[in-house]
Chain length 159, copies 2
DNA sequence: ATTTTTGCAAATCATTTGCATATAT
DNA sequence: ATATATGCAAATGATTTGCAAAAAT
């Protein structure tokens, strides 16, 4: 009678205790379709009387992130959100409208990284690459013109 | 008698008031060699009795960022920091040791973005690409082995 | 048995906001 | 004159921490 939950399995494999609260957080995470914040999970836990507290949610997410089961995104607006992901695979494209995140395989990013190393003389240690846009579904249901959304131009009325 | 400060000039060009507090913040920003946080500037202002308050520093940085004079980085550890940068140029490689940031010109990044659009069906709106590593100087003064620093492996002792 | 984990509430940290006053235009 | 910006202190929001009790090993 094994553990069918991949998050919990990974936890267990890494030597962490497979506790009920972690199972609960893992379950909440697993059924999310788009990105979510720690506080959203805290809220869900409270509403559904799941009995896991704020600190535990934060700690579980931190742990999941450490194990590569979840990734913390820095959204363009400045906030943070998590998405589930395959371990050791770390680029996502995130829909600005529905929040869905899709994993992106190395489309030449490694090569770019190498090129940058060569050009700058830096030794590259890690990179953060996040793309934001509209997913195919949202493109279909909310078509936008050729003109992409643009930031207010520097010459526009400043107030 | 013009304004020799590029940050202030840009502000002015964009139609914002060229105020003394903003000048002070711009000056602090301009003489930073590596990345800095809003609170570091607040601290400097306090220590040097520059007379600009917390809110003003935050507001000035927000404005500078809007004008593309400064970029807000999301550091790997989760914090934020700012770096000065050329307007409309938005990729940096940041030294993990000294915090210096170097602008990186498009080393094929646009191509990657396109490839991802094609593969995923997303319409890419914006991307965040930040690289972290060791700058040439820090490489020289703190040589590290071929083995890059690695995250604790999943099989390592969890505590 | 022993170690890790939890939950709570309080603490911390970063950032924002209201509003009367001051400043730039 | 008029609009914008400032400073302060208080509010907010997110995340972390201390610690005794509970659960997993």
């Amino acid at each position: 009678m094994g553990n069918p939950d991949p998050l919990m399995t990974a936890l267990d494999d890494a030597g962490y205790y497979a506790t009920e609260p972690r199972r609960v957080v893992a379950a909440m995470v697993a059924q999310r379709e788009s990105h979510f914040t720690a506080l959203e999970l805290v809220g869900e836990a409270k509403q559904r009387h799941l009995g896991v507290g704020r600190a535990t949610v934060f700690r579980a997410l931190e742990l999941f992130e450490e194990l590569g089961l979840v990734e913390r995104l820095d959204l363009p607006a400045g906030g943070h959100a998590y998405v589930v992901c395959e371990p050791a695979h770390h680029h996502h494209i995130v829909c600005q409208r529905c929040g869905r995140a899709t994993e992106v395989d190395d489309c030449g990013i490694e090569g770019v990284s190498k090129a940058i190393e060569d050009r700058t003389g830096y030794l590259v240690d890690s990179h953060r690459i996040e793309l934001f846009g509209l997913c195919p579904d949202c493109r279909a249901s909310q078509p936008i013109s050729n003109e992409r959304r643009r930031r207010p131009s520097a010459t526009a009325d400043p107030h």
